[in-house]
């Protein structure tokens, strides 16, 4: 069995299984953003960050990693929406099931249908840089429903460690080419990286 290697972007080589993906453009609801040559999206003071044309027929499946470094405003939820042709899909097409665990407490939500977004849990203003989201998106550009899974580590203001796993899908069966994340607080600063999984590897 062959073992793939993680590409580092600038040093891309044939046979890489996980490849950094650059979007065609980025838009922010406030603040600013920069996309570097290796596809890293750095944003600052943004109420929302929209990544355009990062999904394509090149890869079927993607990983998105979100690392905030700061948040402004009240403790807030982060959320995720798909985009198509530069617009968010904000219809009631999102379904999800989540488990949140902290200390010895586990809370499982009922299977929520008809949402207008996928939740990315809570981000604390004083501990934003301890938030971490690792999203798997399956088949966003394929003509079928979009599978979504996210694992999140986050820390409450009092220092309580929360971990969350959230699975779900979106009913849209046409291609989507991007996504947005947005906060219910004022703004966030951080980094987003998008990777494609090589098909057939």
């Amino acid at each position: 069995m062959s073992v793939g290697r993680l590409s580092t972007g600038a040093g891309l080589s044939a046979g890489a299984l996980v490849v950094p993906v650059s979007p065609a453009s980025v838009s922010v609801g406030s603040g600013s953003a920069t996309v570097s040559g290796n596809g890293q999206i750095s944003f600052s003071g943004a109420s929302s960050v929209s990544i355009n044309n990062c999904f394509s027929s090149t890869y079927d499946n993607y990983r998105i990693i979100i690392n905030p470094t700061a948040a402004v405003g009240t403790d807030a939820t982060l959320s995720f929406r798909y985009r198509a042709s530069g617009s968010d899909i904000s219809t009631t097409t999102y379904t999800g099931q989540r488990i949140v665990y902290f200390g010895t407490t586990i809370v499982a939500s009922t299977n929520v249908t008809g949402n207008t977004l996928h939740s990315l849990s809570l981000i604390s203003t004083s501990r934003a840089n301890q938030y971490y989201a690792n999203i798997e998106v399956h088949g966003p550009f394929l003509p079928r429903k979009k599978n979504f899974r996210v694992d999140i580590n986050t820390v409450g203001e009092a220092g309580t460690f929360y971990s969350e796993t959230h699975g779900g899908w979106n009913d849209t069966t046409t291609s989507v080419d991007g996504f947005s994340i947005f906060t219910s607080g004022t703004s966030i600063t951080g980094i987003i990286r998008v990777y494609g999984y090589a098909n057939g590897a």
Partner: protein, 72 residues
């Protein structure tokens, strides 16, 4: 919504600022308020469960560590 280009010199792809109309901003504010309410509801549910657990432990006269030691 209007897109205003704000691409920094170091960015390799265009970056835009979304400028919302008053109506779009109001709609977004409403959505964000709903999201926050959902989060608060979830936290209240978690806090209530934790409170119940602590009350049960107190009735038994045992600490959480002692309960774990018994059952694990």
């Amino acid at each position: 919504m209007e897109l205003v280009e704000i691409t920094p010199i170091e960015s390799v792809v265009p970056v835009y600022l979304e400028v919302l109309t008053d109506e779009e901003q109001a709609e977004r504010d409403e959505q964000q308020a709903a999201m926050l309410a959902e989060q608060e509801e979830r936290e209240a549910e978690a806090a209530a469960k934790e409170e119940l657990k602590q009350a049960a432990l107190a009735r038994l006269g045992l600490s959480e560590e002692e309960i774990k030691a018994i059952f694990n």
